[in-house]
């Protein structure tokens, strides 16, 4: 089974090595260039990068661990059929239900795609599945907590909740109005897939065994998602070390362009929703409030790593809608927030 994977599904080892080595080399070259042009010592610039990177990582990693453990517990303890029974069936109602379903299935954007796919295969309405997919990475207690810790109770916290729910419900209803459940998923991903432990044996395992299983999954999930967090923190730390705040500020002005720039940044950085608040804090001094809100609401919906996961599960046309609709709507929401704050406050 393992050798089968190695032959068909995965990148060859040599290619991976070359990839990692070139990332490391680029990192060192970029830091060297910065040291040269600013006349500072190489080791000092490297240590600034290390401090910034480790700071982001240390602050974020407890949240990633909590997320991984929650995900492991869901995998072993909850069946999605149980949840489906309580949800409304009409399109708008289902979309609203889907947007709040994240409170029951707290997963970040790394874990949401497989759960959404499972909802679709179990016959969920399209609007529910899509709204869940977009809102769940934010709609959960862990992300509420990290956003609250980073920003307190204010325009960013409230804006993030409102914009996320609005965008998720609208996009869910729109896609639900023209797509049937069978037309959403790629044909290969309709067939079963990996459904927990059910295939192992018929008997329900003991709670102790389930708990152990949940923690095992949590450990694996930490590695699986941790690498995205580490790449994200690396990019963010690198940018903070290399790009002077003034040149960011030039992009960060204006009610629309600041939002556009932050959304592109959210897409590129691909940071986990549990920790993106701490990264957004870095931009509070340079960017408009609307841009921060859009960064926080758009980032968990769509980014580089979730796009990759989308293409593995959904049809190409749906993937396009899943990226473009949230992008445009978040941009609009961010711009509106900026205009309101400028005129009222």
């Amino acid at each position: 089974m393992i050798s089968h994977n190695a032959r068909h599904g995965e990148t060859p080892e040599r290619l991976k090595f070359i990839g990692l080595a070139s990332i490391a080399a680029l990192l060192l070259i970029a830091i060297g260039h910065q040291a040269n042009s600013s006349g500072r010592e190489y080791m000092l610039v490297l240590s600034v990068f290390a401090t910034r990177f480790l700071g982001i990582f240390v602050e974020a990693v407890p949240f990633l661990l909590l997320g991984s453990i929650t995900s492991g517990l869901i995998e072993t303890f909850i069946k999605s059929d149980d949840i489906m029974r309580f949800l409304p069936r009409n399109r708008l109602g289902a979309a609203i239900g889907g947007a709040f379903l994240g409170l029951v299935f707290p997963v970040c954007e790394c874990g949401v795609v497989p759960v959404a796919r499972r909802l679709f295969t179990k016959g969920s309405p399209v609007s529910l599945g899509v709204a869940f997919l977009l809102a769940a990475p934010f709609m959960n207690p862990i992300v509420f907590a990290s956003t609250y810790i980073a920003f307190g109770f204010g325009p960013v916290f409230i804006g993030r909740i409102v914009v996320t729910i609005l965008v998720a419900v609208i996009v869910g209803t729109v896609i639900g109005s023209f797509a049937k459940a069978k037309a959403v998923l790629k044909s290969i991903s309709m067939g079963g897939g990996h459904d927990g432990h059910e295939h192992c044996d018929g008997d329900e395992p003991a709670t102790r065994v389930k708990l152990l299983g949940a923690l095992q999954i949590a450990g694996d999930e930490f590695f699986e998602m941790g690498r995205f967090l580490i790449f994200g923190s690396m990019l963010a730390a690198l940018m903070q070390t290399l790009v002077p705040q003034e040149s960011l500020l030039a992009l960060g002005t204006g009610p629309v362009f600041s939002v556009l720039f932050m959304q592109i940044l959210a897409y590129v950085l691909s940071v986990c929703s549990t920790v993106d608040s701490f990264l957004a804090l870095a931009f509070v001094n340079t960017f408009t409030t609307g841009a921060i809100v859009s960064f926080l609401s758009f980032g968990p919906m769509v980014d580089i790593k979730s796009t990759l996961m989308f293409t593995g599960v959904f049809r190409r046309r749906i993937v396009l809608y899943l990226i473009l609709l949230p992008f445009v709507m978040n941009l609009l929401a961010g711009a509106v927030i900026n205009v309101i704050l400028d005129n009222v406050v």
């Binding site: 393992i2 050798s3 994977n5 190695a6 995965e10 080892e13 991976k16 990692l20 500072r40 010592e41 490297l46 240590s47 600034v48 290390a50 401090t51 910034r52 990177f53 480790l54 700071g55 982001i56 990582f57 240390v58 602050e59 990693v61 407890p62 949240f63 661990l65 909590l66 453990i69 995998e75 810790i149 990996h194 192992c200 152990l212 923690l215 095992q216 999954i217 949590a218 450990g219 694996d220 930490f222 590695f223 699986e224 941790g226 690498r227 580490i230 790449f231 690396m234 963010a236 730390a237 903070q240 070390t241 002077p244 705040q245 003034e246 701490f278 804090l281 870095a282 509070v284 001094n285």
Partner: protein, 244 residues
């Protein structure tokens, strides 16, 4: 058959590496707390999160150790994720960095694009002049109706020297980084200082400056400036950042 055994061998190795990395992460977080270098990275207010993180890492390491031993005993097992060595390597990167590069706080080298004269965060209650740090002073400057209003108030602050070509020859900014949450949001702020000793002091040095405020022209602005009576070199404070 040989190939399969080889693959099992690799899987065991990766399982061991996983346990080791999880344990290493737990140890790293514990050491940060015990040595106090955690203050270089995050706001003290969130130290408890790191304690939780360390405990969870040890728990996961224990489970990983236990399950890899069990796996060796039992042939049948299923992977939920296929953790490969390159993933393990990427996740080990923070540990490598932590071992290879000594822990330092953000200082003068990290100032990237100027030091701000604007306070960060929301102002609380006003403290008595000699207890005010640089952040408190910037808030007072904001509150004052005119720069001259604070003339003659005594100042006693600690910070590092920051210089710009526009600064006068006997002047510099005394700067600190503020930290709301972690170094991701670190932001340099500072107040202008005029001192006879300015020429002997190197950029980045940590100083304690005592003096009085006097509204003057500094780098093209008219603002409250510290006229130093006494300037003394000090060690970097145990808490290098100011918490808004």
């Amino acid at each position: 058959m040989t190939r399969q055994r080889e693959n099992h061998h690799t899987a065991d190795r990766i399982a061991q590496a996983k346990t080791l990395i999880l344990c290493g992460m737990g140890l790293y977080l514990t050491l940060l707390i015990l040595t106090g270098s955690l203050d270089n990275y995050i706001n003290q207010r969130f130290a408890w999160l790191v304690v939780v993180g360390a405990l969870l890492f040890f728990l996961l390491a224990l489970v990983s150790f236990y399950s890899s031993r069990e796996r060796a005993a039992r042939e049948h097992h299923h992977h939920h994720y296929h953790i490969t060595w390159d993933i393990a390597l990427v996740v080990a990167f923070p540990l490598l960095l932590a071992i290879l590069i000594p822990s330092r706080s953000l200082g003068i080298e990290a100032v990237n694009g100027g030091v701000s004269l604007n306070p960060v965060g929301v102002a609380g209650l006003s403290r008595s002049p000699l207890d005010r740090n640089i952040l408190d002073w910037l808030r007072e400057f904001d509150r004052a109706a005119t720069p001259a209003q604070l003339n003659g108030t005594p100042v006693d602050v600690v910070g590092f020297i920051y210089r710009e070509p526009s600064h006068p020859e006997d002047g510099f900014m005394l700067a600190r980084f503020t930290l709301s949450c972690c170094v991701a949001d670190a932001f340099p702020i500072g107040m202008p200082v005029i001192s006879d000793a300015a020429g002997d002091l190197a950029e980045g040095e940590w100083l304690r400056v005592q003096g009085q405020l006097k509204a003057s022209a500094f780098a093209g602005d008219f603002l409250p400036v510290v006229v130093a009576d006494m300037v003394e070199r000090v060690d970097e404070p145990a808490q290098p950042y100011l918490y808004p």
